[in-house]
Subunit: 600 residues, 2 copies
Amino acid sequence: MSYAAPLKDMLFVLNELADLPAVNALPGCEDATPETVEAVLEENARFCEEVVAPLNRIGDEKPSTWKEGEVKTTPGFAEAFHAFAQAGWQGVQHPAEFGGQGLPKLVATPCMEMLNAANLSFALCPLLTDGAIEALMTAGSEEQKQRFLPNFVAGKWTGTMNLTEPQAGSDLAMVRSRAEPQGDGTYRIFGTKIFITYGEHDMAENIVHLVLARLPDAPEGVKGISLFLVPKYLVNADGSLGARNDVQCISIEHKLGIKASPTAMLQFGDRGGAIGTLVGQENRGLETMFVMMNAARFAVGVQGIGVAERAYQKAVQYAKERVQSKDLEGSATAVSIIHQPDVRRMLMSMKAQIEAARALAYVAAAKVDVAHHHPDADVRAANEAVYEYMVPIIKGWSTEMAIDVASTGVQIHGGMGFIEETGAAQFYRDARILTIYEGTTAIQANDLVGRKTVRDGGAVAKEIVADVMRTANELLEASSQEGAADFAAIHAQLTEAAQALSDVADYVVANVQSDIKGVFAGSVPYLKLAGIVLGGWQMARAALAAHRKLVSGDGDAAFYRTKLTTARFFADHFLSQADGYRSAIVGGNAGMLALEEDQF
Amino acid sequence: MSYAAPLKDMLFVLNELADLPAVNALPGCEDATPETVEAVLEENARFCEEVVAPLNRIGDEKPSTWKEGEVKTTPGFAEAFHAFAQAGWQGVQHPAEFGGQGLPKLVATPCMEMLNAANLSFALCPLLTDGAIEALMTAGSEEQKQRFLPNFVAGKWTGTMNLTEPQAGSDLAMVRSRAEPQGDGTYRIFGTKIFITYGEHDMAENIVHLVLARLPDAPEGVKGISLFLVPKYLVNADGSLGARNDVQCISIEHKLGIKASPTAMLQFGDRGGAIGTLVGQENRGLETMFVMMNAARFAVGVQGIGVAERAYQKAVQYAKERVQSKDLEGSATAVSIIHQPDVRRMLMSMKAQIEAARALAYVAAAKVDVAHHHPDADVRAANEAVYEYMVPIIKGWSTEMAIDVASTGVQIHGGMGFIEETGAAQFYRDARILTIYEGTTAIQANDLVGRKTVRDGGAVAKEIVADVMRTANELLEASSQEGAADFAAIHAQLTEAAQALSDVADYVVANVQSDIKGVFAGSVPYLKLAGIVLGGWQMARAALAAHRKLVSGDGDAAFYRTKLTTARFFADHFLSQADGYRSAIVGGNAGMLALEEDQF
């Protein structure tokens, strides 16, 4: 099997770190009992392992192709997507009233991870549809909801996000596509959009584009952008499909990775205008798009965890099979390379980072559920605020991690890793998009500095640091107990790292006015530091939970001991970097901005 | 122009850091006057920029192809290689008696960097020939030298290294190819070799394979391996080409990168045995191969610098051209992205690492020249020892750096970086081989720990640390002078980092007996720490030299100020990582080796 879902770790994180029972106790989450959740994950794992994962290599070897405006996806993709839809997987987290399973985000998140681990290219299609559902749920009219949501949730139609234009990548103020009102409640859309994931394909009956464009009288900049819903096939009043709309796929890109996922250039309105309807209010399109983007950013972070897990599993398998060189402690014959200390170090580095990122993402997902379902408005708001702080970190840090892990996976394969047929190189290529789309790491870091740290004077950041310190203190208290030999070391690293994060948050808040460029020049290092600290925090919580389980004697002792070791490794090898980041952020902008353009 | 050789920085490093005048004063190096060297580099730059660099993209788009045992290289490669040979570039560092220019390695090194920056795939062919020349110079018979060296040096014939076999990658003890003596001074060679760079091609009249194989009575393991010279076409007594030898190219690999460079699987002896001659003594083949490999390892480090420089230049160009988003300090209109602080940080990080690695490699090259040409045997030995310590660092650290820099180059291009036609992705793919071939980073790190640190009890490591500390003290002494504002900060970082390296060397020597796996598990972090410290040391020396130049008022003041800024950046952002590495190495093996195989 090319992918085996890490269900044991997933269930451990759900139950011990993300408090699934507490989520299950929320109004509206009654169905998500631990037993049901386990059954759902097992079923999802089977589907991803058996149906989706085997299509990963062929997607790289036989990418989607374009011919005269039509896109033919990789052989097997359409059938797999129909099976996915039929089994109801598109609807895991969506409301029952539109045909979904209505399960919490905490349950949808491991499902998302599995699908992405199985096949990053394939998973992008449902990921975008999730975003479209989120947008319509937030701002769609009742008619739009009734007409589109059941078809999205059933996987009959898919969604896309149309932001980027040739002259406007990260900078949406430069969007030039335009929308002309027809007086009948519809609009005609004109413009060119690029980098549209699954902008055209043959896997569903209809493709529904969510498109940013400007009305004739719209103000300049981002406050003049509206959001439109533009289906490939118009939808008749009875819900049946009507005429082909005026949106054409001009070409698809020839990419470094995720080759099976068609990245389309779409031309709207070459034949009189593509007919669309407004989503939400005029000129407020960006707000809705941000809802969609925030969900997508979290999802891309989870993509990073998925592809990293897949790369790790492949590397472990190779390291156990490949026999070469004697054991350093003097075996007579050659041994498998997993006995080599540096291969160990690389595998531990992959494993530790993946588990930390997974724990952080699932814990954040639980916060969304609390923020949506908790009866107390203050609790909802507090959870929402922490989640908002975490989103850019989950997106930015988990995806940077994924590139690192995929590259390490290639390294473990040695020369074979560089040969395409081996498959390790695909993860290295595929993962490379993750720090770019849905906002580059720098965009995430800008968000972390601006909206998530400066705006509240660092309040949420400091709250989180206080929580981390509480976990560190628990480690210290437990460190004298039997089986807790590593706790003192983890405590020391975690305390220092949390202090570094605290200092950096202070620095950011204190200096953003007087030295805005200096502060923003440190934004990506700040994001990485925050990732390490928050990831290390979750690994410390995992170590405490594993220790409790070992003391109580229930469950899989080998798993818990592995978790303790992995937490210790994370502390020694990643938390130990925190001081260097602080130093670079707080003292390091002298060299960063001093040069003139022509000195480069 | 897609590549502009960084001649200004190269000449600065040659003259101010690597002491070209002192090399020029060595017996046998009289021709290498600063004026001649500058002329040679300018001429080489022109050739690389105009002839070789334009073939880089097409090499990726139209890789070498295999058909019935023959390899057709990328259109234009053969013509460019003939021009390269005719201009005498293969012979830069090789003796005049065989037709070379007899210039020092210090001069050949920037030439090598330029060729690799221009085209990594193309440069591999002469790189391997250099290795074959080195092997024959070291251990070849007089007849082998006379027959082969002039043709190698003239670029008429090319060389290959045949080590790897399907069951034996890094572990040469497992080599199974065999050689049967024919009683006439020749041998018949049988076996399969894989991953043979330029093992077959159409760029030269003959291809000469240096092949590791076992004699019938050879002992087991690496002490039973002999080295053979096996030409594709046998060479007649008069030097003309004779019959086709029994070596066949079975296939070439489908690779992640360096696609124009054919990576061959060679079958020796399917039709009665490939005829070869012994190089050096029986069963001592590995020693000669190590001479060749050591030269090749240094050269691969330089490949890393070359491809990183190319990726940097492309990113700078894009950052200056791509207009998007307003300036953070409030321009009314959108500006080029080089104004964004994080783009600055990324460019500085690329620039600083490249300049540090370049300085370290050139300084090491000068040590080779002193080690070969100095009249005093003690001076020769001391320089040889320092060079030997530096080789695994130059190979390991510069290539890891190259992957990081190429990846950052993709990131700066945003979504365009992921599109193959942009070209940034090619560097990310090409660079990925560099940490694998000629010994993975782990193999380099093993060498650094075993042969280069433990064997002499850390003596050379500590000598280098003492030198670094002397440079740090110079910074401190100069820090009160005008224009030396950054020196105190660089001094602080450099001193701490050097102390970390010193502590790690002590730890390695003290613990290798009692905890061999623990020490080797920290070997790659040790290598990276050493890279940072030695690179930071060279940047500190560069800052001192630049400051002297500014004070004296001669030369390009803007260049020197840029160098000061870059040195400061390196200290703030890289030397600051040293403490984290020490902590991970010295305290971090608890989690590294604790797991059982089945816990992964």
